[in-house]
Amino acid sequence: MNIVIAGAGGVGYHLAKQLSEEKKNISIIEKDLDKAIFAQDSLDCLVIQGEATDLETLKQAGCDKADMFIAVTNSDEVNMVSCFVVAQHFNIPKKIVRLRNIQYSKEDYFSLKNIGIDYIINPEIEAAKSIVNTVNFGASTDVIIFGIDLQMRGFQIDDKSPFKDKSIFEIKKEINKSFIISGIKRENGDFIIPSGFTQVKKGDYIYIIAKHDTINDIVEYSGKSSIRIKNIAIFGAGNIGVMAAEGLAGKKRNIKIIDKDYERCKKVSSILKNITVIHGDANDAELFEEEEIANFDVVVTATDSEEINLLSALYSKNIGTKRAIAMLDKYNYIMMANKLDVDAVVSPKLTTVNSILRFIRKGRIIGVYSIFSGEAEALEFVVSESSKLLNKAIKDTKLPEGSLIVAVERDGKNIIPDGNFVIKQNDKMVIFTKKENISTVEKMI
């Protein structure tokens, strides 16, 4: 598959990295010379330095043979215009555009269709949705919700964790509920898809999949009691903060939103009537005292600065806030946040990458959830007639090593399968796999 990506910023770079590792042919167009050279040096892609709206550049990048065009430069206008130029001159079946600032209604969407855009992705809406979900599920862990009635939670194993130094068998025996440990990230950076004998160690970051009603019991067992969330403080009244506040409002919740820009605060307070808007700086310790952040259930840090997000989330936890969610994009910060006391991380970059991947893989695959910066993916799909898995027991499927079928939905019932489970047509399944096996798995399902 040939894919042209315009823009080698955070999202573009990450997408190119992930897709090129799956042996797809990627060309990147990047205006900035330094970024272009960086991408050229570190990615297995063709990098063209030039404007994404320029026909000659688009041709050089191989648009005449491309199956997909993804515009993710940092300018909405460039993204739209380049997509328009591509639609006029080439015959590319799928064109994806990232639009950040434009709030569009349904009608707008149709007019965007007219200039050739097939799929619009707004990272801020995605991130806000992710914040709302995480809070609604207790804000205790990273949450991934599948289409079928299952969810995946990730959490850190620390000294106090009852999972520490136990094998998966032992943990299963102890909890006696239907669940599956789908992935373990070791302290040294190795990522493994575990078997029953794998030992969970201190410092691991593990992912657990279970039904909605049992997952909270497991999370609780792991040492995090579930809490009722009433008081929420959001730092940063940018688009993400405001959309998250809107999504969280209601249910008798007390929501505070804090921003250091006075004009922005005034504007937000005029839109969000039921929400308290505070003008203040997340760096200011007195503000935390004044507003009694220590007594809040959840703090969400969503300012423009990742450093402030990480530090103020940690600070809130330190003074007594029950849960903290930080908005972070840098891989090393996310890793640090997981190790330290931050309960959950929301990454606009990764959620954007995920939803683009979901669109790319569309077809038999209905959901894609990438974790640990794309080191592994959970693929959700429907078993078709032509599937190589059809009518086989899971243990006989010859799936590549490091892949695991973690959940099946059949006739509206959710099953966490074992090795003897026989796969039937129209089963909805979630398969968990390491990045190097993605293309093999894609061919099998």
Partner: protein, 478 residues
């Protein structure tokens, strides 16, 4: 440092080299030579060591950083040369020094030989000798990346550390595909030359060995008197044309082979052709008094100019008997070499061309101190740090040239021979001047000098930087 991956990669390299060595055996059978047991021993040894290495390096993480890349490439070349020298030791009973020199000379496509009576050796060994050229020409590491895309992004670092020229042009989004296409162009052009040489009356053995020598810009010939042995104008001209092709960028060849003739509009290619043309013209005119007729003079002059400039080193005329002017031109050409992305060595046309343009700009700055002059090549602006890197390379190359010459002269060797040997090995050319000239060889040199020159060949093939960074103290600091 990811030593396990380095072990794994070099093991694969040894296995690939062993497999290529098998192709000597049909010649041993055809010419009824007693070399088969020796070849079998080496091949079995190679595969055993390779498999053991693979077991040792099993499960190594597939990530290479920059330092790993430099170390891996340098070590690969040294180890493969040591391995490739085994047939010489077993069959021709050469000392390890001589065998290593000959193999390093083969893989680095230098073509400097320590053999005095080449034709007396078994044909199967001579075939292996020429095959080392062919494998080294496009790069054994490029080949490995093409066959085994296991390294992914790491492959770029390796190819960059090995590929000739300051930048590596991609002809396909994926590095493994690019490596495959380059090898494809290399194989197609080699096949065409072999056929043309067969038509000129050579037998298959001679056609293949000379093709390997030409396409890799190597210069090993299985004949004592090199290409002059055939004394055929047709063969001379075929080899001239293919030496010229081998000295040009292979990504251009690939584009032309796929019908994109626009690729020929390349500034470096034009500069390369212009230098070759002017040099041929001057040498031909200067040689008129030696060869009497213009066509004869053109044939011998063109052959030697292209052979030296592309760093091949085939010989049809004893240029040490030419006039001073012609010899000086050849000496200067030794420092230019082929294009980036070719199999040729030396400084490379693109670097000379860039420095030349920059020098012109500096002259303009002297006249207009506030003027703005940009250096463009093929319409693209060349960045400052690339110009700095090229200037640094140029300095290091010339400095290495003098240091090697100095070291060689310490062993009581005259100035012309020292300078000639240094330029000819560092530039991967082969024949030099003085006592290592076109009708002499390197056999008589003391063994220490042979080791110095082997190192110079490797330094030249890996474009100075790759070999030099691993001996800087900063390389081993965290």
């Amino acid at each position: 440092m990811n030593y396990r991956l380095i072990v794994k990669f070099i093991s694969i390299l040894i296995i690939i080299t062993s497999i290529f060595m098998v192709s000597s055996i049909p010649f041993a059978i055809y010419y009824s030579e007693k070399t088969i047991p020796s070849f079998f021993t080496v091949i079995l040894l190679g595969i055993t060591v390779g498999v053991l290495g693979l077991v040792a390096g099993r499960g190594a993480p597939n990530t290479l950083n920059r330092k790993d890349g430099f170390l891996l490439v340098s070590l690969s070349w040294i180890i493969i040369s040591a391995f490739g020298s085994l047939p010489y030791i077993l069959i021709a009973h050469l000392s390890f020094t001589d065998a290593f020199f000959e193999t390093m000379s083969g893989f680095t496509t230098t073509g400097a030989s320590i053999l005095t009576n080449i034709e007396a050796l078994p044909k199967s060994l001579l075939f292996w000798r020429s095959l080392t050229h062919w494998l080294g020409g496009m790069g054994i590491i490029v080949l490995t990346v093409a066959i085994l895309p296991m390294l992914g992004i790491g492959g770029i670092k390796l190819i960059k550390a090995e590929a000739p020229g300051p930048s590596m042009e991609k002809i396909s989004p994926r590095i493994a595909e690019t490596a495959k296409y380059l090898w494809l162009a290399y194989i197609i052009l080699s096949a065409i030359e072999t056929i043309l040489l067969l038509l000129g009356g050579m037998n298959l053995f001679d056609a293949l060995t000379h093709t390997f020598g030409t396409m890799a810009t190597g210069g090993f010939s299985p004949k004592n008197s090199s290409v002059a042995y055939f004394n055929s104008a047709y063969i001379d001209w075929v080899i001239i044309i293919f030496m010229f092709i081998a000295g040009a960028n292979f990504s251009i060849h690939f584009r032309v082979l796929t019908g994109k003739l626009k690729a020929l509009k390349d500034e470096e290619l034009k500069a390369y052709a212009a230098i070759v043309f002017v040099a041929i013209l001057l040498v031909t005119l200067d040689n008129l008094n030696i060869y009497k007729n213009l066509l004869q003079s053109l044939r011998y002059s063109a052959f030697q100019v292209v052979s030296i400039m592309t760093t091949t080193g085939f010989v049809t005329a004893d240029y040490s008997k030419w006039n001073g002017f012609a010899k000086t031109i050849l000496f200067i050409l030794m420092f230019i070499g082929g294009c980036a992305g070719s199999t040729g060595g030396s400084i490379k046309v693109i670097r000379i061309y860039t420095l030349f343009k920059q020098a012109i700009n500096e002259l303009k700055y002297n006249i207009h101190p506030k003027g703005v002059f940009t250096l463009t090549i093929n319409g693209q602006i060349v960045r400052k740090n690339i110009i700095f890197s090229i200037s640094g390379f140029f300095f290091l190359y010339i400095a290495t040239f003098f240091i090697v010459a100095l070291l060689v002269s310490m062993f009581g060797i005259d100035i012309l021979t020292s300078l000639g040997a240094s330029a000819a090995t560092l530039g991967n050319i082969g024949p030099g001047f003085g006592k290592v000239g076109p009708v002499n060889n390197y056999a008589w040199l003391p063994s220490t000098v042979k080791w110095i020159l082997s190192t110079a060949m490797l330094a030249g093939r890996l474009e100075i930087y790759t070999l030099f960074v691993i001996v800087t103290p900063a390389f081993f600091k965290k």
